[in-house]
């Protein structure tokens, strides 16, 4: 699972108010090259929760994304490359996603998070 996916997900247990973002407990993180596409990054940026991406990247061993992003930075190759790396090249292979409200752990195994709720959580 890449951090683009992490940025979209939240805990949807019935009654949970603040299920976003999942806290990542990494066991195995891989770095896998992905095609660098500045247009995709500029297109996707306004749809992301930036703070959650910065924190997730730091947890996964890539700290240093700036807290604020300006229009100029979205034209800057150095910034876009670090954004690209955090969003699409850090892969959570093994570990878990932890609901910030309930502490419920959703396991990530072989890169696939299991977000299916149990019968008593729906």
């Amino acid at each position: 699972m890449k951090l683009l996916t992490h940025n979209m997900l939240s805990c949807h247990i019935k009654g949970v108010q603040n299920g976003f973002p999942f806290k990542i407990e990494p066991v195995k993180v891989e770095q896998i090259d992905a095609d660098y596409d500045p247009d995709f990054l500029r297109h996707i940026y306004p749809r992301l929760e930036w703070k959650a991406l910065c924190e997730a990247a730091a947890t996964m061993g890539a700290p240093g994304l700036p807290e604020e992003v300006t229009e100029e930075m979205l034209q800057d190759d150095d910034f876009l490359r670090s954004f690209h790396h955090a969003l699409l090249e850090l892969v959570l292979e093994e570990g878990s996603l932890v609901c910030p409200e309930t502490g419920r752990q959703f396991p990530v195994h072989k890169g696939v998070p299991n977000l299916l709720l149990n019968e008593d959580e729906n």
């Binding site: 890449k2 996916t5 979209m8 995709f40 699409l88 072989k110 696939v112 299916l116």
Partner: protein, 430 residues
């Protein structure tokens, strides 16, 4: 004028269509992206008989023909039989018959400068399928060839990991074309399974995301004969495609996306589970259940009716697509109960296309293409669903219609409201 020659995957159906493409370059570009298109011809002549064809070619503008009939350009003439196979002997006979055209060109069979095509349409039988091409001959110069090579490049039999419901390669590419998937898009398949639609989307350069409720299909895959693991990741790797941004085990009925997530996707392309080959499942609520060990607990699921599944699909698409983004999915249709007004609707989505693919004499499926035309409004959507009421559709009884013997009362077909109550096959792992 350019003649558009379309080849349909269930034989040849309404296969010849005439279109005007003024600029050869555009025809070439269109052909390059097309899957169902055989190619574009600059049409030099046509006719039902050889005499008519010859007269038609002779009457065609010398000004257009002459530049292509020069000794400096190598050529080959391809004889295409439509509706039946043309054997070697007939082929050479037809080549000879075309000698009235003053070709000066040297013949070169591999990679010639020009390809001429003689199409002989003769569909005397289409195995009971509707509509065939009328008997006729066409001759012209090829100006673009459809991109049918992707079908062999991604052919299922050669794929590392596949399952019984893997979308066939040709259709997966057609679906991505309907969804206008292109480089830099973000494409989601909520019923990803073995990922064949995502493979096609990734081929076009999209970033992909897949979900499925069946974790064994999505994540675990299987071992091949030499003990290597064959799974979704392996498919992307062997094709040299971008690994999906995520494959997540989730329930389409309870999508695990944050409330604030909107307009992030360019396309949703999927083949929802319908129960003819793989029945839909969703999670179920049992508030009083005591889960002793969350790590080992196996969650039970409940059946997911098609009407409900499609309502969820349209709603999540309406929310997550950008305006102008497309939803493309297959809707099963039993010929006897299909009603156009039952094709699900949504206030934010507009129906673009509804194309039938005949599968058997009793069962077909329809490729539905919708486009997001308005931004998503939760209240409007909720009110619309409220007004629509029970989402159950007549085709929720598709499995029984397809598999059960037909019942007639007074010569009229009786369609049972509910699927027949049969014991379900369950695998050992369930």
């Amino acid at each position: 004028m350019v003649k558009v020659v379309v080849q349909n995957n269930c034989g040849i159906q309404r296969s010849l269509a005439i279109a005007a493409a003024q600029v050869e370059g555009i025809a070439h570009q269109v052909a390059e992206r097309s899957i169902l298109l055989k190619g574009f011809l600059e049409l030099w002549g046509e006719g039902e008989t050889w005499e008519e064809l010859e007269a038609s070619i002779n009457a065609f503008s010398e000004e257009v023909k002459q530049p292509w009939l020069q000794p400096s350009l190598s050529m080959k003439v391809v004889i295409d039989g439509w509706g039946r196979i043309i054997n070697k002997q007939e082929q050479s006979e037809y080549h000879e018959r075309l000698e009235f055209i003053p070709f000066q060109n040297p013949v070169k069979l591999t990679d010639p400068d020009i390809v001429f095509r003689l199409i002989i349409a003769n569909c005397y039988s289409n195995h009971g399928m509707p509509d065939t091409v009328p008997k006729r001959m066409y001759f012209g110069r090829e100006v673009g060839v459809g991109n049918r090579r992707v079908i062999s490049q991604y052919a299922l039999p050669k794929r590392v990991y596949l399952g019984p419901t893997s979308m066939d390669t040709e259709m997966a590419f057609v679906m991505c074309n309907q969804a206008k998937v292109r480089k830099g898009n973000f494409v989601f398949d909520p019923f990803a399974g073995t990922g064949s639609i995502l493979v096609a989307a990734a081929h076009f350069g999209a970033v992909t995301l897949g979900a499925d409720i069946d974790i064994r299909v999505l994540r675990d895959g299987k071992k091949d004969t030499s003990g290597r693991v064959a799974d979704n990741w392996a498919n992307f790797k062997t094709y040299g495609l971008q690994r999906p941004a995520g494959l997540i085990r989730a329930d389409a009925h309870r999508p695990p996306f944050r409330e604030t997530l909107h307009e992030i996707l360019d396309a949703v392309v999927c083949d929802p589970p319908y129960g003819v080959r793989a029945g839909g499942r969703k999670s179920q609520s049992k508030p009083d259940l005591q889960v002793r060990n969350r790590a080992t607990h196996i969650t039970s699921t409940a059946p997911y009716s098609m009407g409900e599944c499609l309502r969820d699909l349209l709603d999540i698409s309406a929310r997550l697509l950008r305006v102008g983004g497309r939803l493309v999915y297959f809707l099963p249709a039993a010929l006897e109960v299909y009603k156009e007004e039952e094709v699900p609707r949504h206030p934010a989505l507009r129906l673009i296309a509804n194309s039938e693919q005949v599968l058997t004499t009793r069962y077909s499926r329809r490729l539905i293409t919708m486009e997001k035309v308005l931004s998503y409004d939760r209240e409007v959507a909720a009110a619309f669903h409220e007004e629509q009421g029970d989402p159950r559709m007549a085709i929720d009884s598709v499995p029984s219609i397809v598999y059960e013997p037909r019942q007639y009362v007074d010569g009229k077909l009786v369609v049972s409201e509910k699927p027949a109550n049969r014991p379900k096959y369950r695998s050992k792992l369930c």
